[in-house]
Symmetry: C2
Subunit: 195 residues, 2 copies
């Protein structure tokens, strides 16, 4: 039993690292969830992230686009978009060195999948999988700027949500150490200029 | 001289196909431009697309996000985002089978490049190129819905712009035949639901 618990804890640790640092993987999330259940812990019913108390901002899907990116590590393969509320978007667009209090950034992560519809249109000249679109949603990561409330973490509060539920404390603890290496006020995303 | 002209015309034909059907390549664009010059044609000074008279809509970069995708064909490698004006975004979000007059969709295409900054953050656990972000802009494609004005092309007017300049008639002619195979009112993009 002790061995099982240790094993479960190790699995959780690996899963958190994958989910938090890398962004990703539904499979890592499932491992974390399964091992949480194995350890006999009840599912969290709070809608706020541990440590920071960050929640999913209403209407965030309608926010403006900061940038898009693609993450591919072995079987982990995601298309991602970062959206910003008005304060965040304005700061990005104007190239501000840091973000004002109240700025919120939402990172939307989906599994990347081939598009049969698009490939069919291309197939006349180029057969095979060429066009990739978003598949199942993986998670949403939220960053909220409040230089006083979150002074200990560069002025940012963090939350990582799957199916609307926040990750636990061990996961949430990994957010800030990773974002410390970002060059733009702890934010990895850079504004995508109009082509 | 006749042979040179024929050669130039063939190059243009190949370039148009690549640019229009595939969405892309800066190199294909440069071929098209170079061969146009070779044929002694002056650069177009119109800001409107041939055939349809579509222009780049002011403020389109601030529009809401419909979806993101990735196109990779040999050396062509692009991250893409589709944005919609209010009418287009609403129709997408509400799952309408077709789009109302006045709906405009802007497809933004950038070359996909590795992110040194992001890879550095990941390198502790996963060395190598894992994170890809947008690089140089390639082109913008605009679709405008006007069921009367564009009745002959499914109700849509098209424009393909590089560096703010519309592609020529031969390029623009390829838009509608390709979009005829799209399953959603001649539109390839599908709304990306919140993860």
């Amino acid at each position: 039993m002790a061995v099982d618990l240790e094993k479960a804890n190790n699995m959780r640790r690996v899963a958190f690292l994958l989910v938090a640092v890398l962004g990703l993987s539904g499979s890592a999330a499932r491992i974390a969830s399964a091992s949480g259940e194995a350890a006999g812990k009840p599912a969290s019913i709070s809608s706020a992230s541990p440590i920071y108390g960050v929640t999913i901002p209403p209407g965030y899907r309608d926010w403006q686009l900061i940038a898009v990116n693609h993450l591919q590590i072995g079987k982990l393969d995601q298309l991602r978009a970062q959206l910003g509320n008005e304060k965040a978007y304005k700061a990005f667009k104007e190239g501000k060195a840091s973000f004002p209090d109240g700025a919120i950034i939402a990172a939307l992560h989906w599994t990347r999948v081939p598009s049969e519809e698009n490939d069919k249109a291309l197939a006349v000249e180029f057969p095979g999988a060429q066009s990739f679109v978003i598949g199942p949603g993986v998670n949403i990561q939220i960053m909220v700027k409040d230089s006083k409330k979150y002074a200990a973490s560069g002025g940012w509060g963090f939350g990582d949500f799957r199916d609307g539920k926040p990750g636990d404390e061990a996961l949430t603890k990994t957010c800030f150490p990773c974002h410390q290496s970002a060059t733009h006020d702890f934010v990895f995303a850079h504004y995508a200029p109009a082509p």
